[in-house]
Amino acid sequence: MISTRALTKRYGATTALDDVNLQVPDGSIYGLAGPNGAGKTTILGIIAGLKEASSGEVVLGVGRHEIAVLSDTPQFDKWLTGREVVALSLELASAGTDAARIDQVLAETGLTEAARRRVGGYSRGMLQRLGIAATLVSRPRLLLLDEPASALDPQGRREVLDLITRLRGTATVLFSSHILADVQEVCDTVGILRGGRLLFQGPLHQLLVGSAVPRYEVRLRGNSAPAIAALRRAPWVTQVREFNAGEVLVEVRSLQDAEVGLPRALAEAGASVVSLRPEEVSLERAFLELTQ
């Protein structure tokens, strides 16, 4: 659907994007994660045609009229009503005036009651939802969403994430966020950006399993010192840390080593094992390990 080749953007001496090769599969929900200033908005801006790349190219699998863009804090003329904003968006995108479709997206975004009120009286969350309604109304094939939920309260965030999830299979979504939990929740493909460089790109599970160092959480009853000492001697163990009394985090070279060696080492040390399980890898942890 979208690919970029050696995309670079410079502002004077500052390189905002450095040789970025993005591959957004057709129909995917692609999360572009990275800290503030990583270059997420710049990439979206270049793909949307709002900025020009210093070098490299963007290959789009859809026409420009099939792309819809939502900025992080959407704003509209305050004297328009919410319905008029959505109607304007539909008219501009498809030269159509489908009243039923306008009502439908207003309902989906929970704005039916406020539809005839002027936008100047909308809260920030309502503006965000109005922006999403205006983005969805023309049924775009590609949506570029810049931090769509970052400015919202928990309920608003929940609604926006649900809306994005419902788009799966009907459109390709490229959305940027520095909230990793959001990316982990709705995305199937992830790109990690830092300092303008794409550090990782691929399916979410590949990032979680492949990039993060495997760890096991071990709970022991009684004296845990002999078991910890035994684990520290094992060649396939890279780190052992007791984070609570009897609760030990064991970092291993590979899951395969741990699956065979960990129960044996604990048994040989005479440890009383309450539980033993691989630590669930979060995107946040994978992200931090990748970017630090």
Partner: protein, 251 residues
Amino acid sequence: MNLWRLEILRVLRTRRWIALGAVYVGFGLLGPLSAKYLAELLKLSGTGADGITITFPPPVPADGMAQYVANALQVGTIVAVVVVAGALAFDAIPEMGVFLRTRVTSVWGILIPRLVVSFAVCAAAFVLGTATAWYETWALLGPLSASAVAWGTLMGILFTAFLVALVAAIAQWAKGVLGTVLTSLVVLIVLPILGIVRAIQVWLPTRLGGALTELTSGTPASEFWRSSLVAVLATVGLLVVAAWGARRREI
């Protein structure tokens, strides 16, 4: 809802038409009135401390139009620049710029309705104010040459087109509405200053703004061909600059 309707709603709902209409029609009413009663008004305020008495010649019809133009050209131009800048600086709030730019195939799609509606509302206010001043002058001071008023109005409209194009061009390069307004006003102030040199003045498009005064005082319309020509060429050039600026701007 389309971009034309959007611009018409902008003028109506933000009450910009009232601001423009009030300024031009207001000065259209007040200009001839103050020309007629200027001597009396000064008499009422008394003589100076040195006992100086100022004697005015009896007002003539051209004075009514001159008073209107003098006021409308200053305050009216400022209001017009603010109104036009508000419509044409569409990237002033980047999120609004993103909304529009990503939904049109060409920036002309955004620019043309804004240019046309802004020009139409400013020109309409100017014509309405001129018609008011003309009527009031006739009623208070006597008739004016219809052809002089018609030519003067036409040249005033041409000046309005130049003003709109100037603001449009500046809006695509300046930052925000305030920057656009201030830069436009500086240009509109500097140009007449250059006109102190007579050889330059006859070519200046800003001369057209006050053409009504000169024409109703007896200056032939042919005197303004150079200003008119420059105004037309500058308007076209500024529109090209506006489109170029809008296309190259990154938000």
